[in-house]
Structures are given as structure tokens and as C-alpha cells.
């Protein structure tokens, strides 16, 4: 448990970055990108989440068990999304006959 604490400046920089990204999301919502709408929104959200996790939650500075725990969390999230999507996408594989 030898975590060095990030400096106040780091926090401020991250905070500003988050604000900019939030503004970006709002701005892009007014532009119609077609199918890219969701993709862009999710990408920005993922960047924001990583920033929060890495700096505010100190993951950048932690090692070992803590990282394993976080990775496990993501792994299970992936499982859930994977299985759910597996259902949704494979529903249409069998084309019913008829009208």
C-alpha cells in the first residue's frame, strides 16, 4: 500500500478535462452524425470514466490486488454485455418464413 497521492494540479487538470468533455458531449448532441451519434457519445463517456477511475479513484497509482479487482469488475461487465448482445444479435439468424 505505497500509494503516492497525486498533486492538486493533477486534480485540477483532470477536472477541467472532464468539464471540456461534458461540454463536447452537449455540443455534439446538436449535430446529427447518423449512426455515429451513439458511438461518439459512448466514446466520450468511456474517456471520462477512465479519467475518473485513473486519477480521482487513484487507479493510476495503485498496484497488484487493487488492479485485479478493477479488472474483474470490467470482466464481469463485459460478460453481461456480451451475453445480452449475443441474444439480441443472434435472434434474427433464423429467418421465419411467411409474410
Amino acid at each position: 500500500m505505497n500509494e503516492e497521492n497525486p498533486s492538486v494540479e493533477t486534480y485540477i487538470v483532470v477536472f477541467v478535462a472532464l468539464l471540456i468533455l461534458a461540454a463536447l458531449t452537449t455540443g455534439i448532441a446538436y449535430i446529427n452524425l447518423g449512426t455515429l451519434n451513439t458511438v461518439v457519445a459512448l466514446a466520450i463517456a468511456a474517456v471520462k470514466m477512465s479519467l475518473v477511475g485513473l486519477f480521482f479513484m487513484h487507479l493510476w497509482y495503485s498496484r497488484g490486488l487493487t488492479r485485479i479487482v478493477v479488472l474483474a469488475g470490467f470482466f464481469w461487465l463485459a460478460l453481461m454485455v456480451l451475453f445480452t448482445l449475443a441474444d439480441v444479435f443472434s435472434r434474427s439468424w433464423i429467418k421465419p418464413p411467411g409474410p
Binding site: I94, K95, P97
Partner: protein, 278 residues
């Protein structure tokens, strides 16, 4: 730790316990074997396959069940506290491996074997030329729709749905193909002919369940789900809703009448005549 009890009561209790377990096992086996209460008879190929799978599972699990309970009863009775020395062994990897493998083979084999019946009903669509029958669930009734002579289901519009004015499905009168659609609160299907179901719902999730067909399928809002069956034994079979859909869930019932093809044609003609007279 705990004191007391010891040997004096132990034999009696062990005996009682072993007996209770034995009785439990015997009664269980008897009830399943004697078939006092048994399935309603299956009326389709698919239903028979399901019953076969049920039997297979029953036999295999039955054997495992009896062996496990007898083993337990034996251990309980033989190893009761009599002041004997405990024979001390901590584990046996070979035994572990054997019964792990045995369970894996048995369970996985049983599972894979059981997918046959399912695969036939779900991986293949209905046979071409199957009778199309649309089932719509709503709180708390079922309605059936036949495409009529033109073979096409007409358009429906949710805002036109009104059971009291005789249009429970909201048929759109402006659509020509909906004019000849026969709507009925009970289903008639010809025996021995493939029927394709189009299962829909107007409000919440319902579930189309006919025991004798061994067929159950949820009706999900926003989706039209295709199922098919081929009923061979004429009769009147109850259709129940098997997914909680609100207050009237328990009375959301209807009937599926399996009749001979001639009777079915007659019924269909009657319905169409009635429709034209309106």
C-alpha cells in the same frame, strides 16, 4: 464445545433418520413411477419428444437420487456414534476425479441429448404452406386472427383497438387486406396440419401456453414471435397465460380446438359468411 447426548440416544435417532430418508426416497420414487398424477397426454410430435426427454432425465436423476439418498442413509446408520474409532481419511483425488468426470459426462450428455427436441421446434421454421394463425394477448384475453381467403393479414392500428365495438385487434378498415380477416376469441386448428403461430401482444408480456402441446412462448411487446406446431389428436385444449400480466392473469384463458380438416373448413366458411353479412 458441546457435551451431553453421546451414545444412549444415538442409535434410536440414527435409526429414525435413516428410516425417514428411506421412506422419503421410496415415496418419491413411487409417486413418480406409479404416475398417479402424470402429464396430460401430448398431442403433437414435439410434445412426445419432450415427454421422452422428461423420462430420460427422470430415469437418470432418479438413479442418482436413489443412490445419493441410500448412500446418505447408509452413512447415517452405519457411522452413528457407538464409541467407535473414527477411521481417518482426508480425501481421495482419484475418487474425486472419477465422480466429477462421471457427473460431467452424465449431465452434459443429458443436456446435449435434450436439445434435439428443442432444435427441431426452433431451428426450423414452419413448413411451407402452414396455416398462419396470429395470436394476440391483451389484458386479459386472447384473440386469434386468420388471414382469410387472400392469405394476408391486414394492417392494424393501436388507436382503433376496442373490444366493445367488436374490433379487439384494431383492424384498419381502410386496408383492403384486413376486410376478410377472421377474428375469434377461441382458436380452431385442423388436426394433422402444420400451424404457424404469430404471437403478439398489445400491452404487457403474456405467455402462450397449451399444456397438451407442450408449447410455451412469451408474447413480448414490440415483437412478433413465430412458433409452429402440428396437433394430431382432436379435442378442446385450454390455453393459459403463463407470465404474470396483472390482476386478471389467472382468468386470462382461452381454448384451442383441434378439429378434423373438414370441420375446420366448415368453421372457417361460417366465420367468413358471418363476416360478409356485417
Amino acid at each position: 464445545m458441546r457435551r451431553k447426548s453421546g451414545e444412549q440416544g444415538s442409535a434410536a435417532v440414527a435409526f429414525t433418520l435413516a428410516t425417514v430418508l428411506l421412506i422419503f426416497t421410496i415415496v418419491t420414487v413411487y409417486l413418480f413411477v406409479a404416475k398417479i398424477w402424470w402429464f396430460p397426454p401430448a398431442i403433437s410430435q414435439f410434445g412426445t419428444q419432450i415427454d421422452e426427454q422428461f423420462h430420460r432425465t427422470l430415469i437418470i436423476t432418479g438413479i442418482v437420487f436413489v443412490l445419493a439418498q441410500l448412500g446418505l442413509a447408509l452413512a447415517i446408520f452405519r457411522s452413528r456414534e457407538r464409541g467407535q474409532k473414527v477411521s481417518f481419511f482426508e480425501g481421495n483425488s482419484a475418487m474425486e476425479l472419477i465422480w466429477t468426470l462421471a457427473t460431467i459426462i452424465m449431465f452434459v450428455g443429458l443436456g446435449l441429448y435434450g436439445e434435439h427436441a428443442w432444435a427441431e421446434a426452433h431451428f426450423q421454421g414452419a413448413a411451407p404452406g402452414a396455416l398462419q394463425l396470429e395470436v394476440t394477448g391483451q389484458q386479459f384475453a386472447w384473440n386469434f386472427r386468420y388471414a382469410g381467403p387472400d392469405g394476408k393479414f391486414g394492417a392494424t392500428r393501436p388507436e382503433l383497438v376496442s373490444a366493445s365495438s367488436g374490433n379487439p385487434l384494431g383492424l384498419d378498415p381502410r386496408d383492403a387486406t384486413s376486410k376478410d380477416d377472421v377474428v375469434s376469441p377461441v382458436a380452431y386448428v385442423p388436426a394433422g396440419q402444420e400451424v404457424e403461430l404469430l404471437i403478439r401482444t398489445q400491452d404487457v408480456t403474456h405467455s402462450f401456453y397449451v399444456r397438451e402441446l407442450r408449447l410455451k412462448q412469451d408474447a413480448v411487446p414490440g415483437m412478433t414471435i413465430h412458433m409452429h406446431f402440428n396437433a394430431t389428436v382432436p379435442g378442446q385444449y385450454e390455453l393459459a397465460c403463463a407470465e404474470l400480466c396483472g390482476l386478471g392473469h389467472y382468468r386470462m384463458r382461452s381454448f384451442v380446438n383441434v378439429v378434423s380438416p373438414e370441420e375446420f373448413d366448415k368453421w372457417m366458411r361460417d366465420q367468413e359468411t358471418a363476416l360478409q353479412q356485417q
